[in-house]
């Protein structure tokens, strides 16, 4: 049985080690050995794959003519040994070398392998060793600071690298798949946060939305809807973004008070993966000063034949804005939900058309509506100086067809 600990690898070698053993006939059985230890010249960590981290390291390996043994070990780290790729990048110096991996041997019960490398001549070769390394992971997070008027924000995108891989790397090139490449050392058990990109003056919409199907009621006996608030930003170039999809991550939201030291924390939300041209919605909490009462004003059934009916429905919204600023309320109605309210769930898609008594200015927002959900916008004036809010009333008039 071949003993590796006595011949191929010094025990003091760091977790990821590369040792080189010139091989000549009979050497594999010898007890006295000389091992060279090529150090890392360069390390790159590729973080562009969502599921795996690829480490690439370059070392200059001295080779003798003929067959050489290159011993690679990774005790106490989570390298997937099947993903290790050994590539000869270039010979070092002017001497042309033909270097090939002849075979790879895997010793039993050890996190190690031995490459048999053939070289056409003596000389050094620059080799690149690539492998997937577990427990070296990345995540993203954002800091969003809204301007005092809540019309724009400064969005900073950070990448957080967590190294629990039980290996440290010196100056390492880190690439997230887009943006700039970082050159940083990565220490053992270290967490490193890096600013990937900072987007200034990103226009935002602050929205107030009621949608009984999604957000429900604040006070159902009084028919008062819950009105959540969001910042909505669009990931496109017109809005100072659009360079790449925004990855999933936690967003900490602040508001600039206008004076130094007056930045206030508004809360945090998970920003979903946002492709280019899509919107990222950040939840801010429930608005207390925008009150929406929703009632079903009309529900009439019209016989079509047999057991088939049409329904005529009018939804009434009485809205008051107790804020000092004018705002726009997004009124969203899921018509399948309306159908289920008035006649029970039939599990079928809802067939509908809007009636003439719909009052929202500008009509339905087609861009934000779907086959079963309509979105309207209701501009609301600021409350009066005496503190009274104007009651704004709007209606959605809809015919629901062919129900049974």
């Amino acid at each position: 049985m071949r003993s590796r600990s006595s011949c191929c690898r010094p025990l003091w070698l760091a977790a990821l080690g590369l040792a080189l053993l010139p091989l000549s006939p009979g050497v594999s059985q010898a007890r006295v050995k000389l091992i060279t230890l090529p150090i890392r010249q360069r390390v790159e960590v590729q973080l562009d794959n969502a599921a795996a981290t690829l480490v690439e390291e370059e070392r200059i390996v001295p080779l003798v003519k003929g067959e050489n043994q290159v011993d690679f070990s990774w005790a106490n780290t989570q390298i997937d040994p099947n993903t290790i790729v050994f590539r000869v990048v270039a010979p070092v110096g002017d001497k042309p070398l033909d270097v090939k991996v002849l075979s790879v041997s895997y010793p039993p019960n050890e996190a190690a392998l031995v490459w048999a490398v053939g070289s056409s001549d003596s000389g050094s070769a620059r080799v690149r060793i690539s492998y997937l390394l577990g427990n070296l992971s990345k995540s993203f997070n954002y800091r969003a600071v809204a301007s005092k008027d809540e019309k724009s924000l400064v969005l900073s995108e950070y990448m957080r690298l967590q190294n629990f891989a039980n290996e440290q790397f010196g100056s390492t090139s880190l690439f997230a798949g887009y943006g700039k490449t970082f050159l940083k050392p990565i220490g053992l058990n270290e967490t490193k946060e890096m600013l990937v990109q900072k987007f200034e003056k990103v226009p935002i919409r602050k929205t107030y939305t009621c949608n009984p199907a999604e957000y429900g009621y604040l006070d159902q006996p009084q028919n008062k809807l819950r009105v959540p608030m969001h910042y909505v930003l669009k990931n496109d170039q017109a809005n100072q973004l659009g360079a790449h999809p925004l990855p999933y991550g936690k967003v900490r939201i602040f508001i600039d008070g206008g004076q130094p030291g007056q930045t206030a924390f508004l809360g945090e939300d998970w920003g979903k993966f946002t492709p280019i041209d899509d919107e990222m919605k950040l939840y801010l909490g429930v608005a207390q000063d925008v009150v929406v009462k929703r009632t079903i004003e009309k529900n009439e059934r019209k016989h079509i034949g047999g057991n088939v009916y049409d329904h005529e429905v009018i939804l009434k919204f009485e809205i008051e804005n107790f804020k000092d600023q004018a705002v726009t309320l997004d009124v969203v109605e899921n018509l399948r939900h309306v159908r289920n309210e008035i006649r029970g769930d039939t599990k079928r898609d809802v067939q509908w058309e809007l009636g003439k008594e719909t009052t929202f200015p500008g009509g339905v927002d087609k861009e934000r509506s779907t086959f079963e959900q309509v979105t309207f916008h209701a501009p609301l004036p600021a409350r009066a100086k005496d503190g009274k809010a104007e009651k704004v009333t709007h209606k959605i008039h809809v015919f629901i067809r062919n129900e049974w």
Binding site: E56, P107, S130, G305, G306, N307, T370, F371
Partner: protein, 474 residues
Amino acid sequence: MRWCVQRALLILLLAAWTSPAQADNIDLSTVPSRDTVQLTIYNSEDITLVRETRKVTFKKGVNPLQFSWANTLIDPTSVELKFLTHAEQLDVLDTTFPHAKSQMLYWNVSSELDGEATIQITYFTSGITWSADYICIADAPEGQMSFEGFVRVHNSSGEEYENAQVRLVVGTINLVEKIAQLAQVPQSEVLQMDADKLRDFKKDATHRFMERAGALGGGKGGEEGAKEKEIVKEGLSEYFIYTIEGTETISNGWSKRMRSLAGQQVPFKIQYRYRPAEYGEQLVRMYLLTNSVESKLGTTPLPDGVVRVFRDNGRGGLSYLTQQSIKYVPIGDKIELNLGVDPEVIFELIKLRAFRDELWLQLHGTSDYRKVGADGVMRIENATLAGWDDHEIFTQRIRNYTSKPIEVEVRRTLPGHVVFRSQLEPKLHDYQTVEFLARLAPAKRADLLLEVVRKQGINAKQSNITPQTAEIKP
């Protein structure tokens, strides 16, 4: 040969010997070493055919031979002795499996020869396996790739095989029992099993491969140096045999990986696919290539194995794309590598409208039907809806943020009696699956309108899809 190698040991007893049951406590034996050993390893089953030759000096008369294999995974029913030289002067008189020692047998060889002969012992063992794997590295523009295949032999058989000729069998075989199980059972019990059929099968397999082995030759054993070993691939019946050039030493517990094929500048195509039954509810990016000579491959079928896919990232390094198991790929067949979702291609199915028509009422107590909307139907009370068509208008929205034109193939399975309309010339993939292709320029968005009509109740006359090329209005 070291100590553990001697576990499978051939002992020639020169002392006077009559029966293994006798209590002969003082013995003298010689230990002829292996001259050659050949391993034929199957990857579909845990079985390896071992063929070893040794030189033995016989004396005239009866020569007892003992063969033992303690702490190995050899199937005792498969052990065979053959004489490669002086076969006409040598004969096996009998074979004895001693009751007391399960991993041992004795042969009594009758010899008319007074001198050396070469014998061959063959047997099946468990615990030596091989597997294939592949590494693909696409170039930065993603038009060509290097495609390298590897074979990895792992020895956990308990035996050291030094300087063995290694042959790997690609293909599946049928075994009536697992070698590993047989290796654990005492010989006396094994022989009481349904032995005849099993033995016949094993002998047959042994002979077939041994005959073939002779024809293939022994490689260039012992050649040393800095040359990568060639792996010779040859077809045999339904199988493919890889023979590793020269000999290999694979110690117990070790495994060894060697390159079996190297395709350079292998052309491939990129296609985006939506096939929920195969790839889940997502649009995936595929590398498509062919195991053919035109594609710089095609010298061998590709055995089952894991493919690891990288791409030259254009900065001197690699990007890891995916790893995927592939099934046996015959010569000429396709290799399809699923790279997963591309964040730069957004694929959405948005329902724009739903409505119903062709509503038919069945009058109660009759087999009469009336269409809703016809004259007088509004006054009919005693009727129930019996058939209708559900219409759904969708947009298949595809956004291509890559810098290249892309091809997208979409398959949708829609059970029931369905009419599928699109401008994209939809075709049937099967009776309930429709397929269409779309092409998008770089940085473009496409809204592909589709209409699905599902015939319900009495309107459903079939259970299939009719694809129609038609302009759809949102």
